[in-house]
């Protein structure tokens, strides 16, 4: 099992993964599963998060929901506006903001710069807007913040490719 896991890691490490895509989040989910001990230390996380990119492929809004289920992420899927009530909270922003954050995490070898955490970027309401249909569900972003940040931090383990233009 250990050899297989290492092989998977190498495959991801050498992979280039496009953003925005469900594949990008699946790559993060695979890393999370590999790092179960680390995520167990952070504690179980149970929520449905949605990312919305305003200027996604074809310059259209792109939405993806992913389900945190204890120490795994399951149910990664592209969604539409109609699915938004299923998300506990929604993080929406533009591609450039996401790109800056990913670059910062990559440069920091898995640690974003002080000004590039999800909490920092969303606290003032811009450039990332955090919102929810239910304030209690929005608070899940605060309750599980470290798990969500560490989940995203794993993007440093592969190369992200970006839409041209």
């Amino acid at each position: 099992m250990a050899a297989e896991s290492a092989a998977t890691e190498r495959a991801i490490d050498s992979e280039t993964v496009p953003f925005p895509s469900t594949h990008w989040f699946e790559a993060l989910a695979a890393k999370m599963t590999e790092q179960r001990d680390h995520f167990e230390k952070l504690g179980a996380c149970d929520c449905v998060a949605q990312l919305t990119i305003w200027d996604g492929p074809n310059d259209e809004e792109w939405r993806c929901q992913f389900v945190f289920d204890e120490f795994d992420v399951t149910g990664i899927r592209e969604v539409t506006v109609a699915d938004e009530p299923e998300a506990d909270f929604i993080l929406e922003t533009d591609l450039e903001t996401w790109r800056e954050m990913v670059d910062s995490i990559f440069d920091g070898q898995g640690q974003p710069g002080l000004d590039h955490t999800l909490n920092r970027l969303s606290m003032p309401g811009t450039p990332i807007r955090l919102w929810s249909h239910d304030p209690l569900n929005r608070d899940a972003f605060y309750r599980f913040n470290q798990t969500i940040q560490h989940f995203i931090n794993n993007c440093a383990s592969f190369t992200t490719t970006w839409p041209e233009g």
């Binding site: 504690g43 179980a44 239910d134 608070d139 605060y142 913040n145």
Partner: protein
């Protein structure tokens, strides 16, 4: 034959040094008198048991399963056996609206037949579910258990490098304020835990987890003030009156509203704003970890308020009373972000130095708007509309 009077009479006298304090001596004499002469039942039960032992016979009443829930099975979920799993069974998950059990006999045990023999714990006077319950209680308790952290080892203290003297003074002052806050945040649940009847053990357990969280927060902010070579600075008399008002709230529901929804909602926003207040990754880590814990407490407070307002026998009266309480409570909490010993360090940290304190006030103004709006949203969620009644100014009263 051994008699109770002989056993009690044979007890060694209390050490003289323990009796040297007149208050202790009086309390001890009163206690002994009460248990020797007023409470007779324990002595009668002891005598009965001694007699049985003397006869060499067994009772075996504990093997009688009548009235028990013997055979009821509870099924663990994928993450283990949680209270949520346990409470799916009617036998163990039926929570009374009002309990009559003011003793330690566990909910779901064979206890009815012992009602006349069990002691009454006078201090258990929170007997209504509506004063303690929230629908997310079991989930939050599980979450609290698995998301604990350790301020000794989970903060990279050795990497702490204070930025500049003015920023470090502001950080130490803010840490002093937060240490004060965390004392009351731990002491308020402790004031109520022992008053809540054990039938609501889920609530007692969650409040214990909140106490542990607050103890850790008090610990981490005390450490932060001292670790950078600065130290604990000035308490805030104005804010300590607000803390006293929280602690002395007349009911658990009112106090939970004031502490968890309003007070901790405010502190949650400050922790979130730690991204702007902190100048090092060490401080940011402290704020982020505290933020996670604080959000649980706010979440409990919001649904506890909802539970109370929905379950109150006279809902209109409960709503009116809570509004009257909130009218005062909001003003009390207002003292936090108007007191210079709290406001000004925040502005210095937001502005990145004492020279830019005016710029920092812009950040405080934004923080204020966030605090008030999130508070009003949580009140809405609880069915407690404060939008027209809120006595806190929606915009920060700062003449720039």
């Amino acid at each position: 034959m051994t008699s109770v009077e002989n056993i009690v009479g044979d007890l060694a006298p209390l050490p003289t040094d323990a009796m040297s304090d007149p208050a202790i001596a009086t309390d001890t004499r009163e206690y002994i008198h009460r248990y020797r002469n007023v409470h007779q039942q324990w002595g009668e039960l002891l005598q009965k048991n001694l007699d049985r032992l003397d006869r060499g016979s067994f009772d075996l009443g504990w093997m009688d399963l009548e009235g028990s829930n013997w055979g009821t099975k509870v099924k663990p979920s994928s993450r283990g056996l949680t209270y949520t799993d346990m409470n799916r069974s009617k036998a163990y998950g039926t929570i009374p609206e009002v309990t009559e059990f003011r003793n330690f006999a566990p909910r779901g045990s064979v206890r009815d037949r012992y009602a006349d023999q069990l002691p009454v714990i006078d201090e258990y006077d929170v007997l209504a579910k509506m004063h303690v319950w929230s629908d997310n209680l079991e989930t939050l308790y599980e979450e609290a258990k698995v998301r604990q952290w350790n301020s000794t080892t989970d903060i990279p203290w050795h990497e702490l490098k204070p930025a500049s003297e003015d920023l470090e003074i502001a950080t130490c002052q803010l840490s002093t304020f937060l240490t004060e806050v965390e004392f009351v945040a731990g002491d308020f649940p402790s004031r109520w835990i022992y008053r809540i009847a054990p039938d609501f053990f889920e609530a007692k357990n969650f409040l214990v987890s909140q106490m542990m969280d607050e103890a850790r927060h008090m610990e981490v902010f005390r450490k932060r003030a001292i670790a950078g070579g600065g130290g604990l600075l000035h308490p805030s008399p104005a804010f300590e009156w607000a803390l006293k008002a929280i602690l002395e709230s007349p009911t658990h529901s009112q106090g939970t509203f004031l502490l968890n929804v309003l007070g901790e909602g405010l502190v949650l926003s400050i922790f979130r704003a730690g991204e702007f207040l902190s100048k090092t990754h060490v401080d940011k880590e402290i704020f982020r970890l505290c933020m996670q814990d604080e959000a649980r407490h706010v979440s409990y407070g919001t649904l506890e308020l909802k539970s109370y307002l929905e379950a109150a026998p006279d809902q209109q009266a409960a709503l009116t009373d809570m509004h009257a309480f909130a009218d005062l409570g909001e003003q009390i909490i207002l003292t936090a972000l108007t007191d210079p010993y709290i406001l000004e360090p925040l502005a210095v940290l937001m502005g990145d130095g004492i020279k830019h304190i005016d710029d920092g006030m812009e950040g405080v103004t934004f923080l204020w708007a966030t605090i008030v709006e999130e508070y009003l949203q949580r009140c809405d969620r609880a069915g407690f509309d404060r939008r027209e009644k809120c006595t806190i100014p929606l915009e920060y009263p700062w003449a720039a």
